[in-house]
Amino acid sequence: MSRLDTPRDARLDGTADGELGPSAVSPKAMASGRSSPSADVAVRIVGTLALVGVAATVWLGLFVTPNAVDYADGTVRLLYIHPPLAWVMYVAYGMATLSSLLYLWPRTRHARFDRLAGASAEVGVVFTGLTLVTGSIWGRTTWGVWWTWDPLLTTTALLFVLYLGYLALRNVPGDDETVARRSAIAGLIAFLDVPIVFFSVSWWRSLHQPPTVDLASRHLYVHGSMAWTLLLGFVSFTLTYSWLVVHRYRLAVLRAREEHEGLEVALAERWAEAVK
């Protein structure tokens, strides 16, 4: 059985041993695409906690906590999910950018960081979409409009489109290393734009019009059950993010292996036929 081409740099492919988890990996586990059993258990625990946490947040948020006095009937309940969703969005993009940096830095160049960047960005886009929708609903219930050109909401919308472009770029076919490097640089460029977008939109809103709708005035006095629910919301959604990223990351690894090993199996079969 000969390898036809030059040996791939398994490190950059990410198909090297340690790829899926700590080095205590059995070949059987490798083949099934799972990381070590202990990592597996950890992920399951995270997932379960996330599920429980989110369910609890929903129950508390919708049914248990009181209506805040200064907000229209029930609007405050969005508070338990909208800010957590936005928070996760920033965490996701931050993680994607960090991974892109790590990939570009020669000492830590490894396919795992490229895959992490892609996974985190994708989950980030999902959360961005949800942030936009919940933000829009907030506007609808508070001011009767489905869209306010509020700095935060507008910036979020721009981020949505920005990172959709990043994902589109990642999907363009090409040799793994090229795609990774190109995406990492594009990701950094996009991230650099985020503060600029934020400040420009804030100035745009504040300098030329009195802010008629100011989501920053969301300063309710959160106390008691409201505060705990909010905290629970942040924690649960962060756990959800983690679980989603792990699975998206695994999917990326599996797909890469499908590509490489599928090719090798096909080549092996061809060789077998030719030699027959």
């Binding site: 721009l158 489109v161 920005l162 959709l164 472009g165 589109a168 770029l169 363009v172 090409g174 090229t178 490097r181 190109r182 640089i185 594009a186 460029i189 996009a190 650099l192 734009d193 600029i196 977008v197 400040f199 420009s200 939109v201 100035w203 745009w204 300098l207 030329h208």
Partner: protein, 222 residues
């Protein structure tokens, strides 16, 4: 680096002078955009005049996409891109050269569009210095981001749809800043444009720096 930049810039501009794509295709495109805006927003000047600056800059933004596509289409014939890579030219110089050529084309385009906007939307031109400063800084920023994303998407089959998708969201701050600066100038209060001009300048400096650093690796990958 500067010598290479001049070389590439001169080459691109000479090709443009000979083929006149910018003049024959991009400028009419931009004019068409203005006309379509006029059609969409109604013949009533009252809707158009306050929007003149914004519409101007959207037309510019759309034209930048075309200009960048054109700039890299120049290289894709007959493996010119490989030639570019192997030529030993400093990639940062290539970046600056291509960017400068685009800036030159943009400035000419903006001059034409200014006349168009004054004519079609009844914009009263005042605060010329601010208008000019906004044009220069915005164009530099747009060209810089454009060349970076241009090289990223060059050689890809999906580049026609990918480039606009990548470019337009990133340039939103330029659109904002330039429009606000122009609004200030057209309204007769050019002093208010200061903060927006700074935004444009920061954007331009940042992305020129990014381009100088990132163009090399990106060129190798394309």
């Amino acid at each position: 680096m500067w010598r290479d930049a001049l070389l590439v810039c001169g080459k691109d501009l000479r090709i443009e002078a000979r083929s006149r794509i910018g003049l024959n295709q991009i400028a009419p495109f931009a004019a068409a955009v203005l006309l379509l805006f006029g059609l969409a927003l109604g013949p009533d000047r009252q809707a158009l005049e306050p929007a003149a600056a914004g519409l101007f800059w959207i037309a510019v933004l759309l034209s930048v996409v075309l200009a960048v596509q054109r700039s890299f289409a120049l290289e894709s014939s007959d493996s010119a891109r490989d030639g570019l890579r192997l030529s030993g030219l400093d990639p940062a110089g290539i970046f600056l050269g291509k960017g400068a050529a685009i800036v030159a084309q943009l400035l000419v385009l903006e001059a034409l569009l200014t006349a168009g906007v004054a004519l079609l939307f009844g914009a009263r031109l005042s605060g010329g210095l601010v208008l000019l400063a906004a044009c220069v800084t915005a164009s530099i920023g747009l060209a810089a981001v454009g060349v970076v994303y241009g090289v990223v998407s060059s050689g890809l089959r999906v580049r026609e749809t990918l480039l606009p998708l990548l470019l337009l969201p990133v340039t939103a701050p330029v659109l904002l800043g330039a429009t606000k600066a122009w609004n200030a100038a057209l309204a007769g209060t050019p002093a208010h444009a200061g903060i927006w001009l700074s935004l444009l300048a920061i954007f331009a400096i940042l992305y020129v720096a990014v381009g100088i650093v990132a163009f090399g690796p990106l060129l190798e990958d394309s």
